[in-house]
């Protein structure tokens, strides 16, 4: 039944696009709300029918996975939630995938944020991923929630030399000296890998400038698609790899699932998003093509 539904929906979408093409060629104006309706319908159809595709990781994503995979058990992994709900669909799956990968490898996890909204999202990760999927891990021994601090790069400038000065306590007001995870941590430079996740300011760029480069800490940013092209110049010298947008997240989820079968049944939101993403891309590409066909036909007419 759903198979037929998919084909009917696709037929309607492509039929509609052809109608728009005909309208445009005839020189009639297509109301913007019709365009909006197309994007909405195409995306909703793919979500409704849960259309999924297989993902193959690219080198730039695989580098990140391999580095975390090769670290010895008990390595220190810092994840910074530098994003808000406006970026959540793209980068939250990355954060959760990094958390899953780190904990399954028995690494020590340090969670912090440079965005106020990041702390609330961190709580969601702890409640929905760590406590549900890893009930055996112990707070303070396996992971710690440091929470949010105001001050953008000012925060980074302190933690690169002195963690305790910036974070005298964790998000639950527990003195940092009484947390076993901090027994051998003086600064952010003691981390074995850092995952700054975000797409604004402060974000991955600030982490590279203020922590990665001065502290020589391997950085693997998870980026919202809008900023991903801007971080490429730092690859491969200043970042070991990067995850760009939902596609990067889907690749990471895919490689994580293939390496660890226990994650086959846990949600992989980025992989699920690639179906709607693909259909929406097709619609937008069609609009570009239709717009240009109309443009060239009009220009030809004008020149004739």
């Amino acid at each position: 039944m759903s198979g037929i539904g998919v084909y009917i929906s696709l037929f309607l979408i492509f039929g509609g696009l052809v109608t728009i093409l005909v309208y445009s060629i005839k020189g009639r104006d297509v109301d913007r709300r019709i365009i909006f309706a197309f994007v909405f319908f195409a995306t909703a159809t793919a979500i409704y029918y849960n259309i999924e595709f297989k993902e193959t990781p690219t080198t730039i994503v695989k580098n990140v996975f391999d580095r975390l995979e090769s670290l010895p058990e008990g390595s220190k992994v810092l994840i910074s939630f530098d994003f808000d709900p406006a970026m959540k669909p793209e980068v939250f799956p990355m954060a959760n995938a990094f958390v899953r990968h780190s904990l399954v490898k028995k690494h020590k996890l340090y969670l912090m944020s440079l965005w106020p909204q990041g702390q609330a999202l961190m709580t969601e990760t702890i409640e929905d991923v760590i406590k549900v999927e890893f009930p055996e891990v112990v707070y303070g021994e396996d992971y710690v929630m440091l929470g949010y601090k105001a001050g953008n790069e000012g925060v980074l400038n302190v933690i690169i030399t002195n963690f305790r000065k910036m974070y005298p306590s964790d998000a639950h007001n527990t003195n940092i000296d009484s947390i076993p995870l901090f027994d051998d941590v003086k600064s952010a430079a003691d981390m074995d890998i850092i995952f700054p996740i975000g797409g604004g300011k402060p974000g991955p760029k600030e982490w590279i400038l203020f922590v990665g480069d001065p502290g020589q800490v391997p950085m693997a940013p998870g980026l919202a698609a809008v900023v991903a092209p801007l971080i490429y110049p730092y690859y491969p010298r200043q970042v070991i790899g990067l995850l760009g947008g939902v596609k990067g997240a889907a690749e990471y989820e895919s490689v994580l699932r293939s390496k660890y079968p226990r994650f086959q049944d846990v949600p992989a939101p980025a992989l699920s998003m690639m179906g709607p993403q693909t259909l929406a891309h097709i619609v937008i590409l069609s609009f570009i093509v239709i717009g240009n066909i109309t443009f060239f036909m009009k220009r030809k007419k004008a020149n004739a």
């Binding site: 297989k54 406006a86 709580t123 001050g151 000012g154 092209p229 240009n292």
Partner: protein, 224 residues
């Protein structure tokens, strides 16, 4: 007093922070100044909130057009502030995490801030689609290059790219759209972004020097 003191503050603070990178004994001073900055940043939040409150209160007081919506802003602001500052509904109590699961602030975040913030940005998808139809034209050589590059990236970042060009043999695999997209990102995009980055980097360095040396005083505004 109005201009000399701020210029001195900027100069001293800026110099200390640069010196703290170069001379390790000054590192602690650099950390302290950064912490001062972090604490002042919170007051900047208060300034923003206070200004918002003042503007909307004025609007309500003077019964300006659409003042009813200003009441919505004020109520939302005050309710959130009260719940947040007093940690109302926090299962961990006053000493627990401000965003503890089930706390008032976390509930506001999940049920109000999340839908509002993410939908606001999701709207842009519709406008991007509309712009693609109306304005993205191959008018000249440069625009065509831009269009082709965008086209390859849009196709290459979805499984569709491989479906369309997966048949190309390994010997010519650079023409498989996903590979081409990766190549564009790692070479031409990297080169273009790097040339911009170098320019911006130099600009930031020059601007910072001008500020520290007191040559740029625009941030002080006028004395009027």
């Amino acid at each position: 007093m109005k201009r000399t003191v701020p210029l001195l503050i900027t100069g001293i603070v800026g110099t200390v922070l640069i010196v703290s990178v170069l001379i390790p004994p000054a590192q602690s001073l650099g950390e302290d100044f950064s912490l001062f900055f972090d604490i002042i940043a919170v007051f900047a939040f208060f300034l923003g909130g206070g200004n918002l409150f003042r503007i909307h209160l004025k609007k309500v007081f003077h019964r300006k057009e659409d003042y009813g919506f200003s009441i919505v802003t004020l109520v939302g602001f005050l309710v959130t502030l009260t719940i947040g500052l007093f940690k109302i509904g926090n299962p961990e109590g006053i000493s627990g995490s401000i965003t503890a699961a089930g706390s008032g602030l976390q509930t506001i975040f999940v049920s109000i801030i999340t839908p509002l913030s993410s939908t606001m940005y999701a709207l842009l998808a519709f406008y991007v689609a509309s712009a693609s139809y109306r304005a993205f034209r191959a008018k000249n050589r440069e625009a065509t290059i831009l269009l082709v590059s965008a086209f390859v990236i849009l196709l290459g970042r979805t499984p569709l790219g491989m479906m369309l060009t997966g048949w190309i043999p390994e010997q010519f695999s650079i023409f498989q759209i996903p590979n081409l997209a990766v190549w564009i990102m790692n070479s031409a995009n990297l080169a273009g972004q790097r040339s911009i980055l170098i320019g911006v980097g130099l600009g930031v360095v020059a601007m910072s020097l001008r500020l520290i040396l007191g040559m740029d005083r625009t941030y002080l505004g006028s004395d009027k």
